[in-house]
Symmetry: C2
Subunit: 380 residues, 2 copies
């Protein structure tokens, strides 16, 4: 008989709030936190089924879609990305992935894991993909799925989507769009743009804690899912089954994260109260204030004005400044979090998020004041 | 231009607490709910990294293991089940799955999705698998992975595990154990039993809201993972990557569900305070009180005394009683949730859970009183 392992004894959590101005999670409104602290009820309780229905309805508003299959996946935005890929890509199918940053690269990797014959269309991190390049690529090799990132949090780019769906549909494929960093904060209409598969994460512009990944599938994507010759190779994210749990059948699949969905409910309710247009305008307004302020400090923005993502700004680290020191001082002296670069922009940019409840004028002012003070002593 | 979709306006959540005596989620202590309502911080914040380390440490205590790779998967117990399967089963590998209920069946289905050559060893729902049957099955056909459910919530059976690992290891395979419904409430020591892969869910005996799936992999399973010729076909649940996020490298993989982990932290802290032995004894004591009370009402227990699972009891629905009516009345008149049967026991049993914070003497008393009152009028 082994000696039993003794229990460790740790103190209770004592974490003050941080000002979160990184690429997510964004700050969460007390109303949302309060909703999550409500008592847990059963996942097939009639009261919870009503919550599920209303969440779906509010998500349809936020995605601007009539798609019946619109749900929060029971995982983070990355799980929603995988759900999008797993339910649309079949082994051997040609897939075109537009890569202008880290998350485009992740999409390509996932499509490969699901057996897709993946071709990538790349642009420098900080620029956009020209729809004409997509057209040419599809002329050379048609694709069943074309995947692209709307708001690339690694580069700070907002990818234009107009006209893409037409190109993709004309050659018989589906358009898959990542709007993890844009949904709710940047103008987007799934139905207007005729997007077939679109997903996001709860912790960005929706301002709900991480843990849920909203996703919507249009009629083409639902058809492809129905016609699959083999089951989706991912059980947890198999939307043909998840759909029956969220739909009228209520067939048990997994236990929905109750408290997380309470939080999402309240976060979506707040967004419905504010209205999408007002939220988009607020994100744009605060981003412009940040951009002007950053340039006034003599710093350069990484992305050209017309392609900047309002929810996430990349700022070039000036010569001679240690970017990590600046971030550490922001956290220690101002209790304020921003992020460093990812992938090929590591060490070269800071990433400043103004998402959801974090996108407020007072936050921009404090960040600019803090940056000014720190750079005064850190610049050579 | 389409007409924009207008926002729906729903009321704020107004849900009173329910007494949850079903197969999970179980009731959540206010301390845990309060921890989840704390402000969200960044997922790479030094303060959060400390929380991650401590959660892992407390999970090792609860699993009674020294395994370094011990983490909460960012999904529900079903995601942890899929992580266990996806990271151990390789295409073409012989897999033996012991099936004595719904969740054994799910394990078999998942193993098939990952390309395993699955053989099942079945027993009636309500009985246990004899290790000698496993030995014989492995003599006929060795298996790389042998999967079994410790606490089967569909049948109410506690499967003995003693001696199984030896049988499995002797022929060169790994033992995978589902302890979703037992971890924290029923005696289990992963290291003592030499289990290679073991997983659970947050919402059962750990009494934390659903959304996280604790899992632990021993040295054999880690080795198999390292030696895989191809990447794990599931990106989100690829533990070779998740491990680097939870381990010393802190390599970004996905954004951990911050608030859910705060809840798990506090729930584990409460279990560490109570102590595993005390928790096991409490679950056993309250279950025995339930069993005696149910039999005193003239109802039959589905599982023989020596194999009953303390955390989940199956009670046979008496002849002439509509089981759904009884459950509806329990919910409407007593605000009390129990569950019906699943799969082949649908309509034949009720499932009563006494898990975590739900396992309290006063809950047993109320349930018995409520059942007595309702059966008085429902019995023919």
């Amino acid at each position: 008989m082994r000696k039993p392992i003794e229990p460790p004894h740790y103190p209770c959590l004592e974490m003050g709030p941080r000002m979160l101005l990184g690429p997510g999670p964004s700050m969460v409104h007390p109303r949302v936190l309060q909703a999550m602290a409500g008592p847990v009820i059963g996942h097939l309780d009639p009261a919870f089924l009503q919550v599920m229905d209303r969440i779906q309805d509010m998500l349809r508003y936020v995605f601007q879609t009539q798609n019946p299959l619109t749900i929060p996946v029971s995982g983070t935005g990355s799980a929603a990305m995988e759900a999008a890929v797993a339910n649309s890509v079949e082994p051997g199918h040609p897939v075109l992935v537009c890569v202008g940053g880290f998350f485009g690269g992740r999409l390509a990797e996932m499509a490969r894991r699901y057996g897709g014959d993946v071709q990538t269309l790349e642009c420098p991190w900080g620029e956009v993909i020209d729809p004409q390049q997509v057209r040419k690529a599809l002329e050379n090799r048609p694709a069943k799925v074309v995947a692209i990132v709307h708001g690339e949090t690694s580069s700070g780019v907002q990818q234009p989507l107009e006209g893409l769906a037409q190109l993709v549909h004309d050659q018989g494929g589906m358009l898959l769009v990542d709007c993890v960093a844009s949904l709710g904060g940047v103008p987007l209409s799934v139905d207007e743009l005729d997007i077939d598969i679109c997903y996001s994460g709860s912790q960005k512009c929706l301002s709900v804690p991480p843990g849920l990944g909203p996703i919507t599938l249009g009629p083409r994507a639902e058809q492809v899912l129905r016609d699959r010759p083999a089951p989706v190779p991912n059980w947890y994210l198999d939307l043909s089954m998840v759909q029956k749990y969220w739909g009228a059948e209520r067939t048990y699949h997994h236990t929905a994260p109750i408290s997380a969905n309470f939080g999402l409910y309240e976060g979506l309710r707040m967004l419905c109260e504010e209205g999408l247009e007002a939220s988009w305008a607020r994100h744009q307004r605060n981003a412009e204030m940040l951009w002007a302020g950053v340039e006034a400090l003599g710093l350069a923005l990484h992305v050209a004005g017309e392609h900047r993502l309002p929810s996430l700004t990349t700022v070039r680290v000036p010569q001679g400044v240690d970017e990590m020191t600046v971030r550490r001082r922001l956290l220690q002296e101002f209790n304020l979090e921003i992020a460093g670069g990812l992938g090929e922009l590591k060490g070269k940019v800071w990433r400043i998020g103004l998402m959801g409840h974090s996108s407020r004028t007072e936050n921009v002012k404090l960040l600019l004041a803090a940056l000014e003070e720190i750079l005064r002593s850190e610049r050579p």
